[in-house]
Every structure is written in C-alpha cells, then in structure tokens.
C-alpha cells in the first residue's frame, strides 16, 4: 500500500491493461511522445511503441470513430478526449454509433471501447475547458459512465472499463489528478455500478462522486462538531448507479443530499433524487436537497470560479436544511 497521485493510478491502469491484453491500444491528442496533456499516458509509447499508442491529429470525431470501428473489429481501444468540453465534437460517434450498435444490431456486437474525458473546474480554465457533462452520457442507453474519486478507484474503474464488453465513458476530475491517496500494491478492478460508503453516518445521507467526495468528507468533519453525522456515499459509477446502496442508506438516515460539481439543473443529481422520490419516498423525513453549480457557464476569474464551484460549505448548508 502506498500513497500515489490519482494521475499515477490512471497511468498504471492503462499500462497494466496494455500489458495484460495486446488488443488494448490508446489514441488521443499528444498521448504519445508528450505523454498526454495531463501526463496520463506517460511512458506508454516507450513501452508499447507507436503500434499501440497513437498520437492523433486534432480531430475528435475521427478519434471517437476509430474507437468505434476498431472495437467492432476486435480491438479494445482507449480514446482520450483532452478536455470533456471537446467531446461535443465526437457526439455522433459516441451517442449514435457506439451506444446503439449492440442494440440496433440485435445484440450481435459488443463494443469494448473506452473514452477517457477529464472534466471539472478549479484550474481557471474558463467556460470551454471546465464543463462536467456526464449527465448527457448517463441519459444515453448503451453507454456506461464512471467517475472515480481516488487513486484506487481510478485504477480499478479504468481496468474494469477496459475489460468491459461495452462502451464506457471514464470521467476523470482534473483537480484530482495531483491528489494523493492509497493504492494497494496489487490494485484490483472495481466493479462498475457499485457505490461505496466513504464515511458512515446516521443522520443524513450525502450522495456524491468525483471531486465532491473530498468536499463531502470535509463537510462531514465540520458537521461532526455540530453533532451531525453524515453518511458519505461515493457513487463511483453514474450509469449504472447503485440505487440499492442509496436506498439502504436512506432507510437508516431518512434524509438525503445529492451533490456534484456539474450544473445542478438537469444534472446527475436530479436522477438520484427522482428515483428516491419514488422508490425511497416512504423513507424520507425531509425535502431532498441538491448541491451543484449554479446555472451559468463556468467563469474564468479565480474568485468567480471559487464562488461558482460547489464545495464543502454548500454541502454543510444543504445538510443543515434537511435537518431544519
């Protein structure tokens, strides 16, 4: 067990997957010689050569298309979209082709492809380099979506994603890349679709994922002082998501907050709430509160971005509201 950066875990997962299966290859802009814009693919070119690590031109549609066509032809491509915002250029191949091929071909095909896409703000990267668009993909039947919050899950979910027979969007949070957390010496795959309890608690269930897990844990520390114990539930997978674990936590706490970095309106949180307002209704003792970004593009200026991004204090406020 050692403390490693999230980025290192991503890198190791790619490395190990390529070692384990020579149909796995990576493709993306500057993923080869430069080791990737965030260095997630560092060392892969040196180890696996240009026949497995493809530095692509700036052409997101064909990058995604290569993943689709190669997956149909027996390979396990892992495509990188440099910032999730640029995935707007690859939507047809992901949504109309990758997601639908299995179903619309009557179950003939499995498309084992992975799209890695870093999301989120915190770098003052501005409105076109900070978006969290995972809700779009969660709405598309045929896609899976995961979003790891720590090194072990980054490793484990990427291994599972690559191993998965169907298309998986791996959303990595940019502010987490440099964060350190524990990675076992013999790290394991993490099943897609299983949440985890990051901190147990009895008073309020806080469902979250990605960089907001850290904020929820900070909120938990603050709330303890007030005598409130929140249970922090890290979804890890967004599509499918672990409805059962959320319901069972709710059955203990009877109060629910759902938090994410993405814009609140029409975000992933809305689905979690909507399910709980149906199947979890009888457990609810208070309104369900969501925490998410306000309805505006992510602003550039440091102060603006800090005010814009949801954080621990927003979660604290939301928890207090459910207890009011």
């Amino acid at each position: 067990m050692s403390e490693v950066r999230y980025l290192k875990a991503v890198n190791q997962a790619l490395y190990d997957a390529m070692e384990a299966d020579d149909t796995v290859f990576v493709i993306g802009e500057d993923v080869g010689a430069a080791g990737g814009p965030f260095k997630a693919t560092r060392g892969l070119l040196e180890r696996f050569g240009p026949g497995r690590v493809y530095d692509a031109p700036i052409a997101e549609a064909v990058i995604a298309g290569v993943a689709v066509g190669a997956a149909m032809t027996g390979m396990r491509p892992v495509a990188e979209i440099m910032f999730m915002d640029f995935i707007t250029l690859a939507m047809d191949q992901i949504v109309n082709q990758a997601a639908k091929a299995r179903s619309m071909f009557g179950g003939q095909a499995s498309l084992p492809l992975v799209i890695r896409a870093p999301h989120g703000g915190g770098l003052s990267a501005g409105p076109q380099h900070s978006q969290c668009l995972e809700a779009w993909f969660a709405h598309v039947p045929g896609l899976k979506v995961v979003c790891p919050a720590n090194a072990a899950d980054a490793y484990g979910l990427i291994r599972s994603a690559i191993d998965d027979p169907d298309p998986v969007i791996v959303v990595e949070n940019k502010t987490l890349y440099a964060a350190k957390s524990e990675l076992p010496d013999d790290p394991q795959a993490v099943p897609i679709g299983k949440a985890t309890i990051s901190r147990p608690g009895r008073d309020v269930t806080v469902v979250t994922y990605g960089a907001m897990v850290r904020e929820a844990l900070t909120a938990a520390d603050q709330l303890t002082i007030e005598g409130v114990e929140i249970e922090v539930l890290d979804l890890r997978s967004i599509q499918p998501w672990d409805e059962a674990m959320v319901v069972s936590s709710l059955a203990r706490t009877h109060r629910l907050v759902v938090a994410h970095e993405a814009v609140e309106a029409f975000g992933v949180g809305a689905e979690v709430v909507a399910r709980m307002a149906d199947i979890g209704f009888d457990e609810l003792d208070a309104p369900i509160i969501r925490v998410g970004a306000p309805f505006a593009p992510s602003p550039f200026a440091k102060a603006l971005e800090a005010a814009y991004r949801p954080d621990a204090s927003d979660i604290v406020r939301a928890v207090r509201r459910t207890l009011a």
């Binding site: 052409a59 298309g65 619309m104 009557g106 003939q108 045929g142 099943p191």
Partner: protein
C-alpha cells in the same frame, strides 16, 4: 479467416455471377418497393435500384475478413457482402428473425460475423467507423481491408476530411467508395459542393479513380486493382462510381424536382440491362436469362416467405440486451 484476393475472385466470378447478384438485389428491392406501397414496410425505405453494380463490383473483390460500412441506402451493400436474404427481409419488415432482430430496420442492416459493420442512418458516419476498422485490420496484419460506401451528398460532412487525413497519414487500408448519383435527397449535389472527390483525394495524396458505376465489370476491375495494392501495402484509395438513383430519395418521394429528361435516360444507364446486353453479346440465350430470373425469384420467394412467417419481435429482450450479458457479473 480466408483472405480473398481481388484478382483471383474476379477471374472466377464471371460476369454471369455478377449479373446474378445484381439481379438478386434488384428483385429483392422491387419486392420491398411493393411491400412498402402496400404498407408492409415500416419507416423509411431508401432503395438502391440503379446502383447495384457498385455493391456487387466492390464486394466481388472482398473476402469475409474484409469489412464494409454502409449508409442509409445500404441494401445492395449488405446483400453483396453476404447478408442472408431471409434475415435481411425479416429485418426490413421488422420481424424477430431479422439480422438485427427487428431493432434496426432498413437503415441498420448489419452482420458483423461476415464483416458487414452496418448500414447507417447518419450521413458520413460510416467513414470514421471504417477508419477505425482499418486501423484494427492493419494492427492484425493479415492484409485485410475496410471499405466504406457513401453518397456524393456525404462529401459535405466534415468527417470526410478527418478520415482522409488520418487514413492517408497513417496509411490505413480504407477503400472509400462513393456512389455518385448526383442527388442529396431532393437537391442536386452540385448545388452543395464546391469541390469534388478527385480534388479532395488529390489534396490528401490518396489515389483516386472514377469509374462508370453502372458497369459492374469496370467497378470490379478498378476495385480489384486497388484492393490488391492495399493488401500488399496498406493505404487508402478512393473510388468514385458514377451511378443512377432510379427511384426517389425514399419510397413515397414524388420526385417533382427531377426533370423528364433525366428520368427518361435512366433505363439506358441501368446496370443490369447493360450487363444483360453484354452477356447476350457473349452468346447467352434468352432462355438462360429466363431460368436465372426464375431461380432468383424463387430464392427471393423462399426468403421472403420465411421472413413473413417470422413473428413480431417482443419487447422483453430489448432492455436486457442493451449491454452485453456477463457471466458472474451482476
């Protein structure tokens, strides 16, 4: 999987067999046309009547391990690549025994087991898929190639640029097959393009050839030449087939935008009539044609009857089958 080298195939597959395949596609589509008019075909039906020589000529030089992607007008492409006739009909009729279990229909006929990666409802979308397929084939190193069919209208989509660039840059074995029928839906393509395929190919240094797409032998010859080169040394090629959309954009299209003259010249350009004249000149008898037609029609009857007897698909497997079932994974 056996790699079928083009030239060999052309020699063995005589014009007679090419004729037979074109005829099969034609008669199959004529049946669909009638079924559509009778209200038995759901959705949109884009017939390739008049364009059969392209699919048949191209497929004559491909093997099962080569892949093809197609577009909305893909019946001929699918049948020529070897999609089973009854599964094909059943699909288009929306039946449980369709090749796609009735979930895709005319615009999504696919059979991955024989390298038919699907028709496609999105104009241009087959090109990046084929680019990826060609990369995979090149990585595998067995000399197989990937072909993609697209119309002249698809030349306007930006994705062609990305695919020409990548296949040229990485020397990927994609055979780009354009069916130039002059039409993009209801608009003449000349009013949509300020370029053409020859110029575009040249700008990416991709070898290009334009052929009479209604002459099946011309298509097969040129495709065979290209594919042989590609097998030896992977890299892309573009073949533009000048052809004729005899029917409307889709069935039900009144075609009031087409002038009499164009319509009247169509029978002359008919690829099947042409091949027939050639075969007659080579000495084949009317009787031979009669027999062949009867044979083809009965093949179609059998397949279509099978398809019609296939039940309507039921909804139950639809949701379960969106993702691949995994043993031991809940």
């Amino acid at each position: 999987m056996s790699v079928v080298i083009g030239e060999m195939l052309i020699k063995s597959s005589s014009l007679q067999s090419l004729y037979r395949q074109m005829l099969l596609i034609r008669r199959a589509e004529e049946r669909l046309q009638k079924l559509f008019a009778d209200g038995d075909v759901p959705g949109f039906l884009h017939l390739s009547i008049g364009q059969e020589a392209v699919a048949v000529g191209i497929s004559s030089v491909l093997g099962v391990a080569d892949t093809v992607s197609s577009n909305h007008r893909g019946h001929g492409h699918a049948l020529a690549k070897g999609v089973a006739l009854s599964g094909f009909f059943a699909e288009i009729l929306g039946r449980a025994d369709g090749v796609c279990r009735g979930r895709g229909g005319s615009m999504h006929v696919a059979d991955l087991s024989i390298g038919m990666l699907g028709a496609n409802g999105i104009v241009g979308a087959g090109m990046p898929i084929t680019t990826g397929s060609a990369l995979a084939l090149k990585m595998k190193g067995a000399g197989n190639i990937a072909a993609v069919y697209f119309g002249d209208g698809a030349l306007a989509e930006g994705v062609i640029h990305e695919c020409f660039n990548l296949t040229s840059l990485w020397a990927l074995p994609v055979l780009f097959v354009c069916e130039n029928n002059g039409w993009s839906e209801f608009s003449p393509t000349e009013r949509q393009l300020a370029t053409n395929l020859e110029k575009l190919s040249a700008s990416f240094s991709i070898a290009f050839s334009s052929v009479d797409g209604n002459d099946v032998v011309a298509v097969a010859d040129q495709a065979g030449k290209f594919v042989n080169e590609m097998r030896d040394m992977p890299s892309p090629r573009v073949i533009e087939c000048q052809t004729t959309r005899i029917r409307g954009h889709f069935e039900g299209d009144p075609q009031d935008y087409r002038d009499k003259e164009e319509m009247s010249m169509m029978s002359e350009r008919d690829p099947i009539a042409r091949a027939r004249s050639q075969l007659l000149a080579e000495g084949l008898s009317d009787l031979w044609f009669e027999q062949l037609h009867a044979e083809v029609d009965s093949e179609i009857d059998v397949a279509l009857n099978l398809a019609k007897r296939s039940p309507e698909p039921t909804i139950d497997s639809l949701v379960a089958d969106v993702y691949t079932p995994r043993l031991g994974v809940s």
